[in-house]
Symmetry: C2
Subunit: 781 residues, 2 copies
């Protein structure tokens, strides 16, 4: 996915101190006499990372390339010094800055959302107005192929540009971005995901894709945009533009950044759907291990500011400044208060289950298609071609439907802007043209709000089938586009179809069987069946439709959809995350792992450093291994038999810290002034530390020593080797750890557990029985 990131496992570890062996590798290493090729070979052999070529598309492999974010604060001496010196005032200042950043996140996310929205609206209007006019002009001349050809062109050209941007400039900007944001919030460092470049490609890409008529929406990309905005603002610098504003320097660490990103994602949801509460819930549901009240509060603030800014800008744009009636970009319109009777509820549950079934089918088809894409569409040009092809098919399908299905309604009933007459009589318009000649979002609105009898059963049925397949083919293309809208559209269409059927059966029930009501239920069911988000989705739909009195039917529908869908497969986001082999940690440890112990899970033996170690040794280790965290230990003593023991755990130091130490030459022998050494030396380099190859260390330097104690985390969370997997999992998940050293009874480091070691254990169901499977970790994925 990204060639800049080296394929390094978090930690595997190799023998430095062999307990049973006779030779002490440690001594050899410190004497510089070790045969490195041997050590390297043994490292390779002992690591759990498999070199086998993995069949693409399997769900049971983790990729070795993803690392963890570090949510645990490194409370080293430098930090304590800093705290002691700066005191209360600094604390208050930092807190105020945090609020300021959240304010900016809210404002900027909303502005970007507005820009995307307005661009889409303007461009689409031009496109569909032209098309509509053309159809009616050329149909008289019998040259219907001309508007068809134009339609295809109008689709292909923007899609071509958008797909090329994604494929050649920033592949991570493909898709909705929600899976990536979800991974990031879960604590996985997804490369490039919060870069400015990604934001630009994503924003431009989503405008082009939606204008290109693809069956997709702008909501997912907006959430992703919010996340990038948050990461960008909070860091006060951009690597893409090579600018450092030297502000917010305190926030340059994984912990703070992840907090801001969760605020950004919430602001994105809030802007996309006008759902500030739903946004907060989305962030919490996807990301936060530990519910932190002040963070929640700030996230909420960002969401509210985002909605507010959007309101102000859009109301001004639409010529009614100050009238705050633009709750969100996905404006599903004002719903009248639907009434419902208690005996309708079982029926809603049934519809929910049906949505779950359809959603599971959609997920299955999309999964198969994605596997096929992974196997065969590997070339960038192929990806672009595929996107253009789908765009052409979309145009063709739409055109064929208008052409073949004879569904005319008198003018003045439908809210479409460009009524197309086609083969209809004078004073009538083609209903299918009105659905196709607008953005998918506007179509959803039509299906929710059009009066009864606007759509007939045949056109709805065909539309459901066509759009179901189109949206399935679209998701996973190399385009920045989300799936909320097409899924809602499919669901709304079959929901309306159900209403049409019901009205056929019970012609007197017009008061109760409102097509808009069933369209809403259908849309919720379909969306619930595909994405399987739970409480946040409910709140988002409630906020989007502005309809609280209808909460109960919605909730029941969504629960039914989720349960039915979960019976067959996982949500679409989770499927894609698994396809990428991301080591996402689930909410709870898998069952039946109480009797799996740390000693079985951990990577061992471990590469350790001593509290005061030689520069040469450190450099060699950094060159030789690819691990990101090293336990710092006391020099091991020899036991009564003269064999070296393990080293006693003293702390934990990160690769990035070591590199900064080497780069700044903070050696015991050379560094005179420790005055300027503070925590900020690490923040200055964050997040892209140099590699060890970029640090020049002379041969003389290698004889010096470094005291790691002021820099290391002096009390990392560690557990005994007899700790069960479930206990480690809970510790890891609740505290957002990256490395968990495993110690023996004498507090000597015997192993190391990282995210991938825990994510490897996953529950599988087979023939009705659940068991725990150990996934493979592959470098190839």
């Amino acid at each position: 996915m990204n060639s800049n990131t080296p394929d390094i496992p978090e930690h595997g570890g190799d023998v430095i101190f062999s307990v049973n062996g006779t030779s002490s590798d440690l001594e050899e290493l410190s004497n510089g006499s070790l045969d490195y090729s041997n050590l390297l070979a043994s490292l390779r052999k002992r690591t759990i990372v498999s070199d086998e070529v993995v069949e693409p598309g399997t769900l049971n492999v983790l990729s070795a390339k993803y690392e963890s974010l570090d949510y645990d604060t490194c409370e080293n001496h430098l930090l304590l010094d800093e705290e002691r010196k700066k005191g209360t005032r600094c604390l208050i200042k930092k807190n105020l800055q945090r609020w300021l950043v959240f304010l900016l996140i809210g404002v900027c996310t909303a502005l970007i959302a507005c820009a995307i929205d307005i661009s889409i609206e303007q461009l689409s209007e031009i496109k569909y107005a032209t098309l509509s006019k053309c159809v009616d002009k050329f149909i008289v001349e019998g040259k219907l192929y001309i508007p068809y050809f134009m339609y295809v062109c109008f689709n292909i050209v923007p899609v071509f540009i958008g797909a090329s941007l994604v494929a050649f400039v920033e592949p991570i900007a493909a898709g909705s971005g929600i899976p990536q944001v979800k991974c990031y919030l879960n604590g996985v460092k997804v490369p490039q995901v919060v870069r400015i470049k990604t934001l630009v490609v994503k924003s431009v890409g989503v405008v082009l894709s939606v204008v290109g008529g693809l069956a997709g929406g702008k909501e997912g990309p907006m959430i992703h945009s919010g996340a990038v905005v948050a990461a960008g603002i909070s860091q006060g610098k951009s690597t893409t533009f090579n600018v450092d504003f030297s502000i917010f320097k305190h926030f340059r660490e994984d912990h703070e950044k992840r907090d801001f990103v969760s605020g950004g994602a919430a602001a994105g949801v809030s802007a996309a759907f006008g759902a500030p509460v739903g946004g907060v819930l989305f962030s919490l549901e996807e990301g936060t291990s530990f519910w932190n009240q002040s963070l929640t509060w700030r996230t909420f603030f960002a969401s509210v500011i985002s909605t507010f800014t959007l309101n102000v800008v859009l109301s001004t744009y639409h010529g009614v400044p100050g009238n705050l009636n633009y709750p969100g970009l996905l404006n599903l319109g004002q719903f009248e208060k639907f009434s419902y009777q208690i005996y309708e509820l079982p029926f809603f549950i049934l519809l929910g289950s049906f949505g779950g079934l359809l959603g599971a089918l959609w997920n299955f088809l999309n999964y198969k298609l994605s596997v096929w894409r992974i196997r065969y569409i590997r070339n960038k040009w192929l990806k672009v071609t595929e996107a253009c092809l789908i765009a052409a098919i979309t145009a063709t399908a739409g055109f064929l439907m208008m052409f073949l299905i004879d569904d005319c309604k008198p003018l003045g009933q439908d809210p479409t802007k460009f009524p197309t007459q086609m083969y209809c009589g004078d004073g009538e318009y083609n209903v299918l043209a009105s659905i196709w000649f607008q953005t998918p979002e506007a179509s959803v609105r039509s299906l929710f709000h059009d009066p009864p009898n606007t759509h007939n059963a045949l056109s709805l049925s065909v539309f459901v089938v066509v759009y179901f397949l189109l949206s399935c083919a679209t998701f996973g293309l190399a385009c920045s586009i989300g799936l909320f809208i097409p899924t809602l559209l499919t669901g709304a269409a079959w929901g309306r179809l159900v209403a049409v059927g019901l009205l056929q059966l019970f012609p007197n029930a017009t008061a109760l069987v409102h097509p808009g009501k069933y369209a809403l239920i259908g849309a919720a069911a379909q969306l619930g069946g595909v994405v399987r988000m739970t409480i946040s989705l409910t709140v988002i739909i409630m906020e989007t439709t502005g309809n609280i009195s209808f909460a109960l039917p919605l909730i029941l529908t969504l629960i039914a959809a989720k349960w039915t869908g979960d019976f067959f497969n996982e949500g679409i986001y989770d499927t894609h995350i698994q396809l990428n082999g991301v080591p996402l940690l689930p909410w709870e440890p898998p069952p039946f792992v109480h009797n799996v112990y740390a000693s079985e899970v951990m990577s061992h033996p471990v590469v350790t450093l001593r509290t005061i170690d030689k520069v040469g040794h450190i450099v060699e280790l950094l060159h030789l291994t690819t691990y990101n965290g090293f336990p710092v230990v006391d020099p091991p003593v020899r036991d009564e038999h003269g064999r070296p023991t393990y080293g006693r755990l003293r702390g934990l130091i990160l690769r990035s810290q070591l590199i900064v130490i080497l780069q700044r030459r903070l050696f015991n022998e050379t560094c005179d002034s420790w005055e300027n050494v503070s925590s900020s030396i690490f923040r200055d380099e964050y997040p892209r530390y140099p590699t060890i190859d970029e640090v020049f260390i002379s041969n003389e330097d290698k004889m010096y020593t470094v005291d790691l104690r002021p820099f290391m985390n002096p009390s990392p969370y560690s557990v005994l080797h007899s700790t069960s997997l479930s206990r480690m999992f809970r510790l890891f998940r609740a505290l957002g750890l990256r490395h968990l050293p495993i110690v023996n009874d004498s507090n000597e480091v015997v192993g190391m557990v990282t995210r991938k070691d825990l994510a490897r254990y996953r529950v599988c169901r087979h023939q009705g029985k659940m068991y725990v499977d150990e996934l493979l970790i592959s470098k190839e994925l």
Copy 2:
């Protein structure tokens, strides 16, 4: 508060193995030759629990009587055995049972809520109909003292019964119950809080208090009821009624019970306010350390079921079965869509700040009053008398207002059921009588929905002052009554007053200055200023008013109210929690404690047990100490100087487990059949284990030994003595721990940290500087 609970600290610990001393107490203990009175004296002396008499009402003391719930699962060998034997089927069964329990919780909570609501409605109707008739009858005869006397009686009699119930039967049922539920969800074992007896007293008490005309509402008690229902149902047995249904035995542990209680609290909120989403957020905000998706999902389910059941029952009761328009008990009526302009927002923020100010004042007054009550109203009869007095004052204040303020309006405008004429002309009614002669909830509804000009400025002003003081005096009485409604009422009144003032200033702004809109803003501001809950309160108000388009003004108002209030003091629930000295753990560790280390915080030396220990030793320890958790260690060896070292940590065993072991005589020498020994032996006794005095151990028994290894938690989370307070705090909070053993470098137990050791560190502000204060722990509180 409760005499059944012994005043035992979680753990303090005393010397068993003296490192520097010359004598080994251990040996003496095992030989039964130790001078216990000496040991006891040293225990007393070394504990951090202070025996000083604490001035009542101070906020800086923790009570020694509160213990922690055990949220961490004890993964001992018995549990592993059980898991291995039962496998997948058991897991699925347990999961289904969980859903069933949540279903039952939702249904039962709603039914109880309905019963309370209908009782209040019926009784109030009789009361106020009689009063209204009486006033109009006797005013003609000039004998106004008769209805006044009746009013006082109608208030005093129910309040007398209600207060007596609370004072003599179950004191924990006093107040709203929200602080207690909050503590329980935070992980504090509040004695009696989830007992059936408490539920009965609370339910009957709240009906009597509200009917008695006190300035209070039924919402808080309903939330508490939900929590009790959850605890009761999930355990499948009741100690109060001495019934054991032998169902749901698997859920008899703190971890599961707390999960169910959080569902119950959510169902309670949902029933009280018709706010299922708000209910879930309430539970999460108050309770859950770790956001667990499946728990959230189940909680949501219980909330929805609760709303639904309530809907069905109430719609049937009101004669419109199947019409699901009774969203919650706090029915604030349907709001029309208030429109607002962008320039109104700063004004809303101003109103929010004003609400924050008033709320802070309310909290301050209530705090002072509570301290006075703690000091002087200690006798039960005094408490009942005080409640009756306040009831009489309420009646007097109401009557005086109707009598003195001449506010008449033509009939047919106000929705009151019993218009009282009093001194008004024919065809008119007394507005103040209409406010006072109904439940406070109905008054809130009036203030929100009455047309403009219904209330004049004078009556509103007097009402605000009177009700502000009355509600302040009422909260903290020995009555089951909450503060949501009176706070909303005060706020709605001054909000409406603001609207009246605005209309005076801008007579042309009638379209914008809707009194109901300002009443809503005022109510939100006042409530936010008093309780300071954040996101859950916003959602509750949004759901209660059914008004999403008005979300932004509400959110801004609430934020302003919270910030303003927080500048002066804490929320009222937190103040009461602090007054009770409950060791509630805040969300984050206090700042500036990175350099406070475990060795300073921990209780030490520790009382430990050996993996195989003598029965006599165990019995003596249990008699001698009051600690609830004992580290299990290897027999300590002597170091080179012949001094015994600390024991190496092998596990952790609870007092309750030891007592069950002794009671069942699971001794190495006597127990032949280990077949019947399973995890269930501990669950059978949960939650009220016998005391050590209730277990008979003969002298012969004392010579036997017990192997603690199968029973103990074999890998408790433990940290090094050099770990900082903030790291311990995070570990403790995120995982819901009860005991945290502190070990040295050789994994030998040197201390123990419990909830109170962490809760003792609290941030204080003094002259603009923040510093960390160490609270006292007192047995006296």
